[in-house]
């Protein structure tokens, strides 16, 4: 799981328990205590929600929260607080997000998030997040794909400031014993009993000891884009292995073809560095050299939103001008006209980072940028209440497929993580109160344990795995790029299935996940949001459904799953505000979650 942080390959652990991982040390655990896997923003938010409700929980993470990928988020968090006096409302936030999501997310969940956003930000203000204040008032910045200035921010280090405030808030409950931090610990398997999750097996990254906990599990493990390797902007700890693990245990995933390429990234040694959307929000302009002169192609092609079109559009446009023979093969982000006061007050951190990591001062010289893999809109399938397809299991944050549909708006990921964590925790609290949780296992522990193939040193990466891991990354990068087509996807699948992964359980799971991504991409014979098919350039209205996959008999099972319609009361709000929103089902139902799963093997 942690390719670079895992300890030295030690096939012979020191203690009797560790040398036989199938025999974990029995630990007294309270089966009603939720187990949160992941201590980034979604995990912190879930833990804080449990603690505030007086519910004790475990918070599991391989490293401290300070190291979570959430600290890397830059631009901001959206909430229709209307601080800029533009008449912004949650319904408009919904309309912008829905348009960008291209109709394939649960509209009720999204409506709930947009309505809940102002409270999320007010709570964060209360916890002391130093949001940008000018002349004594908090301000909001414009961001891609949004009709109003809606993004609250802390210079371009918003994620870091949010994580810090939640860590401090949670610390009080840790001291009270309500939150049990299990740092230096990672998930090795869900404890599955009769297709329901009743607990988890964890492994200490330090001692390699295996530990078993009973209780409902909340996954907050981050996106799976890490299976693409060094072409991503994220943390090296987000490898996608947890998503691959739970998938291999039968948990359904959705919308895996929707991978966000952030338009403005720059290669640095070992990874890609993100240049925040705030750069364009504060006046940065994209151009390419054509016939010896700069061509500001976004402004010419999209006069209304210009450089602030949604990310999928900007990334595709950059790819298209780079491929255009009349243009030079490099796109620049021009920030030379940005006001010096904006540089000092709002973007100083971004400027420092560019100077230090790339050696370019963006205030005086344009930055050469290109799209890079940034975010997975898809992931673990959840319903509106953040329940996974497997009972007793919940997911929130980037690991879950919720809120963002075919394309995520900048500023909605921090919101989705915090709101989603809170929502998932509320569902667990409700189910505990209703007696639906904890689930009492029917089979003895030994039987459940026998079903899980513990592999000694499962997270230690052997030498020959490294090369194969890179092969998987290359296959994905080649065949699941910004623009896809059937021929290339079929070749990609063929190469994946031919790949000899030896005895590596980890790589077998990664191949299965990569296969599932390809299966989603090939089955969606249309272009929508971040999924662009050169052989099917148009959007097919009949495919306004989620792609759902699960493993079956060693293959990937696929189905298109219809989404529920928007509830009548929410539709009324849209009507009252005269918001024209396309693609909303008139059918007022939540049937999506009740339907039987009937996929076809792929």
């Amino acid at each position: 799981m942690l390719s670079s942080t895992s300890q030295a390959s030690t096939p012979t652990p020191s203690t009797p328990q560790a040398s036989n991982p199938a025999m974990p040390t029995p630990q007294a655990s309270n089966p009603a205590m939720p187990i949160i896997i992941g201590a980034g923003l979604a995990g912190l938010s879930a833990a804080l929600s449990f603690a505030r409700a007086g519910q004790a929980c475990h918070l599991v993470s391989p490293q401290e929260s300070e190291r979570a990928q959430s600290v890397m988020a830059e631009g901001g968090i959206n909430a229709a607080l209307d601080l800029m006096g533009q008449g912004d409302t949650p319904a408009q936030h919904f309309a912008d997000s829905w348009k960008s999501a291209a109709a394939i997310t649960d509209p009720n969940a999204l409506f709930g998030m947009c309505e809940g956003a102002p409270d999320v930000v007010r709570d964060l203000i209360g916890l002391g997040v130093p949001f940008q204040v000018e002349q004594g008032h908090m301000i909001q910045r414009p961001f891609g794909g949004q009709s109003k200035k809606r993004t609250c921010y802390v210079k371009s280090s918003t994620g870091k400031a949010l994580v810090g405030a939640l860590i401090d808030a949670l610390r009080r409950y840790e001291a009270e014993g309500l939150v049990i931090r299990r740092t230096s610990s990672e998930l090795v398997a869900l404890d599955v009993d009769e297709k329901r999750c009743v607990g988890a097996w964890l492994c200490s990254t330090r001692t390699k000891q295996i530990e078993h906990l009973e209780g409902p599990v909340v996954l907050a493990t981050g996106g799976f884009a890490g299976i693409f390797g060094p072409s991503t902007t994220g943390s090296t700890t987000n490898t996608g292995d947890i998503t691959a693990l739970v998938f291999s245990q039968g948990v359904k995933l959705a919308n895996l073809e929707f991978i966000q390429y952030h338009p403005t990234t720059i290669a640095i040694p070992g990874k890609r560095m993100l240049v925040s959307e705030a750069a364009r929000g504060e006046g940065g302009r994209l151009f390419v050299m054509r016939d010896g002169a700069p061509w500001y192609f976004m402004e010419e092609r999209y006069p209304e939103l210009g450089n602030l079109m949604p990310r999928d559009v900007v990334s595709r446009e950059i790819a298209s001008v780079m491929a255009d023979p009349s243009c030079e093969n490099c796109v620049f982000l021009d920030m030379r006209e940005v006001d010096p006061i904006v540089w000092s007050r709002r973007l100083g951190d971004l400027r420092d980072e560019c100077i230090r990591l790339i050696g370019i001062d963006p205030a005086t010289e344009p930055l050469p940028v290109e799209p890079g893999i940034h975010y997975s809109m898809g992931g673990i399938w959840v319903d509106e209440q953040h329940r996974c397809s497997m009972g007793g299991l919940f997911a929130a944050g980037e690991c879950a497929c919720q809120y963002h549909g075919a394309n995520r708006l900048g500023g909605n990921s921090l919101l989705g993580a915090i709101y989603g964590g809170k929502r998932a925790a509320q569902t667990v609290l409700d189910e505990l109160a209703q007696g639906k949780l904890p689930i009492k296992p029917t089979q003895p522990l030994e039987v459940r344990q026998a079903a899980v193939a513990f592999n000694p040193g499962i997270f230690d990466i052997s030498r020959d795995e490294v090369e194969r891991e890179q092969t998987i990354q290359e296959i994905l990068a080649t065949h699941l790029g910004i623009v896809r087509d059937e021929k290339s996807l079929l070749e990609g699948i063929e190469q994946l299935l031919k790949l000899d992964v030896g005895n590596s359980v980890r790589l077998r799971r990664r191949v299965l996940l990569a296969h599932a991504c390809m299966a989603c991409a090939i089955t969606r014979i249309e272009s929508r949001g971040a999924h662009c098919r050169s052989d099917y350039p148009d959007t097919n209205e009949s495919l306004a459904e989620q792609s759902v996959v699960w493993p079956g008999n060693g293959a990937v099972v696929f189905e298109f799953r219809p989404l529920p319609g928007l509830r009548a009361e929410s539709r009324r709000v849209l009507q009252e505000e005269n918001l024209q929103v396309d693609g909303l089902d008139e059918n007022d139902s939540t049937q999506g979650t009740e339907k039987t799963w009937k996929g076809v093997p792929f």
């Binding site: 300070e66 190291r67 002391g128 908090m138 330090r206 560095m273 230090r356 490294v466 890179q470």
Partner: protein
Amino acid sequence: MRKLLDVARLVPPEMKAFRQVFEYETEDERATVASALRELNARPRLLDIEGNEAAVISWECSCLQKKCGACAMIINGLPRLACDTRLAELAGERVTLDPLAKFPVVADLVVDRDAVFTKLRDMGVWHDNERSLLTQDKASDWAYEATRCLQCGCCLEVCPNYVPDAIFGGMAAMNPMARLLEETPKAERKRLARSYKESVFGGCAKALVCRNICPANIDIDRLLSRANARAVWGRH
């Protein structure tokens, strides 16, 4: 550019301490200690300079962009972040890599920094009322400055006064405390001020070595003087 990475090894389960030297060559002027370690660990076979097969080098990393503090280690004798240390800027061919010395070593360059987080918990670093006051630009700027702390431990490593598990929490404790103090009205500061006096003010002899070593370049002395003014001298 050719570098010899001279790494302090402590490989579990035997935990035998020794040093091992690895050769690393790159044309990339931007290559960092972190990117070198990643490339070494990604080699199909990792051999040391004498041609012996070597175990993967254990070290922690996450963001590779100086935002998370995971990769703090001692590089040529100074605590730094591996991702923020370019090989080209290090004089000489040999680069020594050691784990932070004030914390127990888990393996190779990985240390157990739990003491830092336990200290913050014991000090009660949290808001009593979950409603801070942020209405002035200046207060917000200083609270922001405080949030930039990575909890990497570099400042603690060079601090002549910091010892893990003692009363003084060092600047890693001062920073989050400074944010809370900035945000808490005078009348409600009692508990925080008491804790701050005991665990920060009382232990800091103002050597301020931390100021020059902080990878995030936090304006530590200004932040410290503001926090002292609030917690100790009852100003603002």
